[in-house]
C-alpha cells in the first residue's frame, strides 16, 4: 500500500473527497504523508474519531501540530507552544482551567438570550444588502459582518472600536492581504483586546470585562482568549452561512420544505453542519508516548489527522450519509469536533444560523445565484471551507 497525502479534491462543492469513503471502509486508520514528508496517520471512521478525541493520551498541544496540507500561509502557531489563553493548543489541566472559566459565560441559556440581538444584527445587514442593490455578494455584505458583529457584542467591543475591529478582522481573513498586513491587523486586534481586558469596572456586560472582573485569568490570557474567539468564530461562522445559503439555493426542494415547515430549522441547521463539515482538513492530535490503538502502534510524536468530514459521512452512524435530509437524526455529528476541545462557541453558531438562514429567504423570497453554480469560488485550499464570494440576485 502506498502512503497517500490527505485527499482534498472534491467531486462537488458539497461533498468531501471520494477517497475518504474508500479509506473509511477499508482502513479507517491508515498511514498518511504530510507536506513536510512526515508519515503520520489519518482517521476516517466515526467510531475511531470519537474514540481518539476522547482519549487524553492524544495531545492537542500546538508544538506538536503539523499542517496536513500545504497552504499558502501555514498556521503560524503550529510548531510553537500555546500562546497565553489559547486553550485549543493545550491539554488538561491547563486547558481545563481556561475552559471552565469560559464555559460559564457560554451556557445554552446565555446563547439563547442573545437571540433578539442576533435578530437585530441580521436584520440590519439584510437591509444593507437590499440598499446595496442586486447583484450583491452575500459573503461580504452578510455572512462576514453578521458573525463579526455578534462577536463584538459577545466580547463587549465598544461602538467606537467596532470599525477598527471589523477592518482588522477582514484583513486577517483576506486572501489578498500580505503577510505584513495580516500581522499588523493581528497586532492591532491584540492591542484592542488588551484594552478590553483591563476594563474591570463591571459596567460592560462583555465577556472580556467579565473575565477581568472574575480576577482568575491574567490580562494576557484574556486578550489571547479574545483573539482566539475571534479567529475561531468569525471565518467559520461566515463560511457556514455562505456555504449553507449556496447549498439551499442548489437544493430547491429542501428550501421549499424549510419554507413550508419553519419548525424544521433547528434540525436543518444540524444537518447542514453535518453535511458540509467546514473544518474539512479535520483536527490534529499527537501521542506524547507510544500508544497501542486499534491494533496499530502509534509512536510518540507522530501526527494524526482526524477527518471530521469522513466521520460525518460514516454510514455506520448516519443512514444514507451522502443525502441531505433535514428530517434525519443528527445527534452525534462531529462538525464541532468531540471531546474536551469540542467547539466552545457551538451554541452561538447554532443561534446565528437558526436566525440568519430563514431571515435571508424571508427578506428575499426570490433569492437566486447571479452566476452559474460552477463559477462560485470555493475555499478549497484553506482550513475553513466555504465560498469566497456568493453573487446573488432577487
Amino acid at each position: 500500500m502506498t502512503t497517500e497525502p490527505l485527499p482534498t479534491a472534491r467531486p462537488t462543492p458539497f461533498d468531501p473527497p471520494v477517497e475518504l469513503a474508500e479509506y473509511r471502509e477499508h482502513d479507517p486508520i491508515r498511514r498518511m504523508v504530510y507536506p513536510d514528508g512526515h508519515v503520520g496517520w489519518l482517521v476516517t471512521s466515526h467510531s475511531l474519531a470519537r474514540k481518539m478525541l476522547s482519549d487524553q493520551r492524544f495531545s492537542a498541544r500546538s508544538e506538536f501540530k503539523r499542517a496536513p496540507v500545504a497552504r499558502p500561509s501555514a498556521d503560524p502557531f503550529f510548531g510553537a507552544p500555546a500562546l497565553p489563553g489559547w486553550l485549543v493548543d493545550m491539554d488538561a489541566p491547563e486547558h481545563t482551567r481556561l475552559r471552565l472559566q469560559l464555559a460559564g459565560k457560554f451556557t445554552a441559556r446565555r446563547m439563547k438570550d442573545m437571540r433578539p440581538l442576533l435578530e437585530r444584527i441580521v436584520d440590519d445587514q439584510l437591509t444593507a444588502m437590499a440598499e446595496h442593490g442586486k447583484p450583491a455578494d452575500l459573503v461580504s455584505l452578510f455572512a462576514l459582518p453578521v458573525p463579526s458583529l455578534a462577536i463584538c457584542e459577545l466580547l463587549g467591543v465598544p461602538y467606537r472600536d467596532r470599525a477598527a475591529f471589523q477592518r482588522n478582522s477582514a484583513t486577517l481573513f483576506s486572501l489578498e492581504a500580505s503577510a505584513e498586513e495580516a500581522s499588523r491587523a493581528m497586532d492591532e486586534l491584540y492591542g484592542l483586546m488588551r484594552e478590553l481586558a483591563k476594563e474591570r469596572d463591571g459596567n460592560s456586560a462583555g465577556l472580556l470585562s467579565m473575565l477581568a472582573a472574575d480576577g482568575t485569568l491574567d490580562a494576557e490570557e484574556i486578550a489571547g482568549i479574545g483573539v482566539l474567539l475571534l479567529t475561531a468564530g468569525h471565518e467559520s461562522t461566515a463560511g457556514s452561512l455562505g456555504l449553507s445559503t449556496f447549498t439551499l439555493l442548489s437544493h430547491p426542494d429542501h428550501l421549499e420544505r424549510l419554507r413550508s415547515d419553519p419548525g424544521l430549522i433547528d434540525n436543518a441547521v444540524e444537518e447542514l453542519l453535518r453535511y458540509l463539515t467546514i473544518f474539512h482538513f479535520g483536527v490534529p492530535r499527537t501521542p506524547l508516548q507510544d500508544v497501542e490503538f486499534e491494533g496499530h502502534l502509534l509512536r510518540a510524536g507522530e501526527s494524526i489527522t482526524i477527518s471530521l468530514p469522513a466521520a460525518n459521512r460514516d454510514p455506520s452512524w448516519f443512514a444514507d450519509p451522502d443525502r441531505l435530509d433535514f428530517e434525519r437524526k443528527t445527534a452525534g455529528h462531529m462538525a464541532f469536533g468531540y471531546g474536551i476541545h469540542q467547539c466552545l462557541g457551538q451554541n452561538l453558531v447554532r443561534m446565528e444560523m437558526r436566525v440568519a438562514l430563514p431571515a435571508i429567504f424571508r427578506r428575499f423570497p426570490g433569492l437566486a445565484l447571479a452566476v452559474p453554480p460552477e463559477e462560485v469560488p470555493l475555499k478549497t485550499n484553506v482550513s475553513v471551507y466555504g465560498v469566497h464570494e456568493l453573487m446573488v440576485t432577487w
Binding site: 471552565l100 472559566q101 464555559a103 460559564g104 451556557t107 446563547m111 471531546g339 474536551i340 469540542q342 451554541n347
Partner: protein, 63 residues
Amino acid sequence: MRIEIDSERCIGSGQCAMTVPEVFDQDDLAGKVVLLDDRPDAAFDDPVHEAASRCPVGAIRAY
C-alpha cells in the same frame, strides 16, 4: 428513566441544556451541568437519550 451525571467529566459544553432545558441546566460559574430532574417523565426519554449522545465527554448516563 433515571439519569446520572458526572460533574468531574463535564466541560460545560451545554449540549444537554440546549437539547432538553426542562431536565438539564448549567451553573453560571463553570457552565457545569445541573440536573433539574433525575427521574423525568417518560415523555422526555427520547430527548434525554439524545442529550446523552450529544455530550462530548460522555458525562450523562440515562437508563
